[in-house]
Symmetry: C2
Subunit: 149 residues, 2 copies
DNA sequence: ACGATTCGTAACTATTAAAGTTACATGAAG
DNA sequence: CTTCATGTAACTTTAATAGTTACGAATCGT
């Protein structure tokens, strides 16, 4: 898995799950899609479980399923659950006694907040169900997307 | 110098320069402000020179000065010259044959573009002169901000 | 009950992007 | 022609993240 792609990767997995509701998916399976390791997957989606987006079942036949209907899970919900910051722009002054540094940081921080708000707004307009529908839904679409093609 | 703070650091230095026009500042001096190394500074601002924001003079009494009036240099100009991406969100599908991944990436990429546009717009509304004015301008303010307090 | 399976998590290693450093060539001022 | 400053290449260090190993806990099928 590439760096800085936790949101992309998580959404990828979640939409696949939305396509086949009630079918638990294992971390092994997901790791295959994301070309990574099962443990990395479990670590990545831990926050999604805590946020009530995914529910996990252990043991034989276990795995992950969506904890609520795909239509009620927006991309913003997922992004928030991952607690990832997407804006890599430092707005904390290192030396708060320098007026210049403070002023620069204050401006940038204002912009940062505004931009994060816009992103959250946009992410809130799309749900997992929307994307699943775009790709075709259900078992057929799931098989279509099996990555084994 | 901390990571992901090239824009903040560059603006910090540039505003100090705006406060004392026609006084070349050495990388040694700037490195002191940013708590880093002169070579790191030279590397960081290389793009600013190529973009016509800074001009450098070598040799005795040399250093950097703003290449144009501070009022004509917006924060967006600086950000563009640094060629830094501020949105750490991967929107390139790793396996373009997966419909789900493509759909997710397409949505995120649209949002990314919109967000970057907003940020650029906002950065364009503020110039180095604006910030210098906020901090008090001229030699007096420069001394006020000497970081040696 | 028992073994197979799967998540949960801690502890460790590997990778990599960026900062920091050293070294030296280039050029300008006095 | 010495001194000081940038320009840049090459290398080392650092830190964030991915990847791995290991094992405990929980659940199912037999």
């Amino acid at each position: 898995m590439k760096r800085n792609s936790r949101l992309t990767a998580s959404l990828h997995a979640l939409v696949h799950m939305a396509q086949v509701p009630d079918h638990p998916m294992t971390s092994e399976e997901i790791a295959g899609w994301l070309h990574t390791n099962p443990v990395v997957v479990r670590r990545m989606v831990a926050g999604l479980r805590e946020a009530g987006i995914l529910s996990a079942v252990r043991g034989h036949g276990g795995g992950w399923t969506l904890a609520r209907p795909a239509a009620s899970i927006s991309l913003a919900d997922v992004a928030a659950a991952l607690e990832e910051s997407f804006l890599s722009i430092n707005t904390k002054p290192e030396n708060p006694r320098c007026l210049v540094e403070r002023s620069v940081s204050r401006h940038l921080d204002g912009f940062r907040l505004e931009v994060e708000r816009l992103l959250a707004e946009r992410l809130a307009t799309v749900t997992l169900a929307d994307i699943a529908a775009e790709c075709g839904q259900g078992i057929a679409a799931y098989k279509e997307n099996r990555h084994a093609l």
